[in-house]
Amino acid sequence: MTMAEHHKHDRHDEQSLVEQHAVRDSRAGLPAGPPIIEELAHMHNDGVVARDETVGRTLWGDAWRRLRRNKLALIALIWLVVMVTAAITADLWVSKLFGDPATINSATAMSNRLLDPSLAHPLGTDTMGRDMLGRLIYGARASLTVGLSAVVISVAIGLLLGALSGFYSGITDSLIMRMTDIFLAFPYILFCILILAMLPTSARGIGPVILSIGLLGWPSFARLFRGSVLSVKENDYVDAGRAIGASDSRLMFRHIMPNAIAPVIVYATMSIGGAILTEAALSFLGLGIQPPEISWGRMITDGQRLMDTNPGLVFWPGLMIILTVVSFTLLGDGLRDALDVKMKD
């Protein structure tokens, strides 16, 4: 587009805008009936801006609108939705398409072993003749279950302790925060390994992994929520709430919590990635999810001996871990921007 055209274009836009205004003005000028005129008069009276598209806008609606504008976060969200859907529905279609990914079929194991990608096996097969794609999808189940459940446990403990700590200052606060400090001083993964290593092999599995990650993850949430509660607590509307006779629990759960929860949501989303990573590491070390259950970490362990000749055995589960963890991080990042009221446009 040349400069002149550009100008013309601009002018055209301007003109059409002017026209639109004119149209709107003439509409407003029409005898529109008494109620509207009365309403307009009131608005001028009180300096109220006209009620346009803001009707029915909720804070969550606003956040969703802002999140949708963030391309990376949206891609991450789509990826996660696809993965979750695949993982949930896996029982319905994976076995039919690619064969049972968990059990070893002794009749075909040798002949199907380490096949190259083909139509029947889009990502090839593993050392036991099981379909890689099918295994990856079932692996997503373990990862997502561990990631979500562990973070839910951490968040629940963290919210409770953080709320108590931030709301009641003084001795309660000191006690809880010192406990948090002690827990934060533990080397996280080492402690998980220690807990799981103490269990007999037969007791290992997805449950202990979730518990160990979840029970050790809460201190950061407690700290974060405490800080958030402390700052929200200072707001006038909390005093106003107290002044209308709200009880402590009402103040905490109805007045403070909804305003203080955003950073926890963001951090929780990012932490899911971290929990998935920890699960993969624990399973890689043989302490986490046990065969025949499928885990991406375990798949890497099984594949690493043949990495030179069949890099796919390690590459695909590794890629899944990276994509999932990065997706949760990006989504968390997007949520941080979306939930930040100060960044309101």
Partner: protein, 337 residues
């Protein structure tokens, strides 16, 4: 004397902080009757809000501590009341309107919900009934189209409308006492007038007593029945509005009146502020805490704390010379001219 609605007697509350004892409220006494309006006037930090907050039990204790005195509401001591009991009074029998309507509404709830909240807490109303009542309350405070507006969020309201919503919230349970803590300070002048008018009109309708806390004498002039002037946590003058306006006794009150801008169209005159700064409440000046800023201070003012004493009938002041008609007339005339 139990027939007063609210009776504050020698109320004294200090904050015990790391920097020392802050004498935020020091021997404040007043009474309030049904349907009456009391104006509490003073500079920032003079303890006018803290007095009200102490009464409502909204001061964190510690660091705050009521040293002596009492505040009785309908004959019951608010100071010695258990938290569960006073909670039933807050928002129900004594309600408060805060200074800044922009921050006093919770941003995550619909306005109607918040106006309805006191009704759900105190009257045990269901969400639906309370919301219906909220529509009526918003209509009462002059919000246009309240049926639609209850569903709005606070950010969709202008400052004046938010203050109206705050008033609706305070009036929800039809309180006996309404404490308005600088309700117009954060608003622009035209809205200020509207809000003041609204409060007067509502008072006529509901018969509730109002404690109007402000630093603006003009706001209380045509609203209050009685005026309490506070300085550095102490009451310096207390009397009917006419008494305080037409025959003020305390040099601080003269200063306050003198600093009201006059509408003088012919001659341009500079504003006359009170010289100096309000004192630090941790380290009050000796004697009369106003003496460093008082143009008439004498040796006695530096050494002796003036006690509040009645000068005639109901009108009193905390100045050594308030009882001396010659001093009062001479000096106040000098200032007023």
């Amino acid at each position: 004397m139990a027939d007063h609605l609210l009776e504050v007697d020698d109320l004294t509350m200090y904050f015990h902080t790391r920097d020392g004892v802050v004498k935020a409220v020091d021997g404040v006494s007043y009474t309030l009757d049904k349907g009456e309006t009391l104006g509490v006037v003073g500079e920032s930090g003079s303890g006018k809000s803290v007095t009200a907050l102490t009464m409502m039990g909204l001061i964190q204790m510690p660091p705050g501590k009521v040293e002596r005195g009492d505040a009785k509401f309908k004959g019951r001591s608010l100071i010695n009341m258990k938290e569960e009991e006073i909670r039933k009074i807050r928002g129900n029998e004594i309600a408060m309107i805060f200074q800044d309507p922009m921050t006093s509404l919770n941003p995550v709830y619909r306005v109607g919900m918040q106006v309805a909240e006191p009704l759900m807490i105190h009257k045990g109303m269901s969400k639906r009934d309370a919301n219906k009542q909220a529509v009526e309350l918003l209509r009462l405070v002059g919000i246009p189209n309240p049926e639609a507006r209850v569903k709005d969020y606070p950010h969709q309201f202008s400052g004046g409308m938010r203050q109206r919503a705050m008033i609706a919230m305070a009036l929800a349970c039809d309180p006996d006492v309404l404490i308005a803590d600088e309700p117009t300070t954060a608003l622009d002048v035209t809205i200020q007038a509207q809000i003041t008018e609204l409060m007067q009109e509502l008072q006529k309708r509901t018969g509730s007593a109002i404690i109007m806390i402000t630093h603006d004498l003009g706001v209380v002039a045509d609203m209050a029945d009685r005026i309490l002037v506070m300085y550095a946590g102490r009451m310096v003058e207390y009397g009917t509005t006419d008494e305080v306006f037409y025959s003020p006794l305390h040099p601080y009150t003269w200063g306050l009146m003198d600093s009201i801008p006059t509408q003088n169209l012919v001659e341009k005159t500079a504003l006359r502020p009170i010289d100096g700064q309000p004192p630090s409440l941790v380290n009050l000046p000796s004697g009369c805490s106003f003496h460093p800023r008082c143009p008439y201070a004498q040796a006695k003012c530096v050494t002796d704390v003036p006690a509040y004493h009645l000068v005639d009938g109901t009108h009193g002041a905390a100045c050594h010379f308030a009882g001396d008609p010659g001093f009062v007339r001479g000096c106040s005339l000098e200032v007023m001219v």
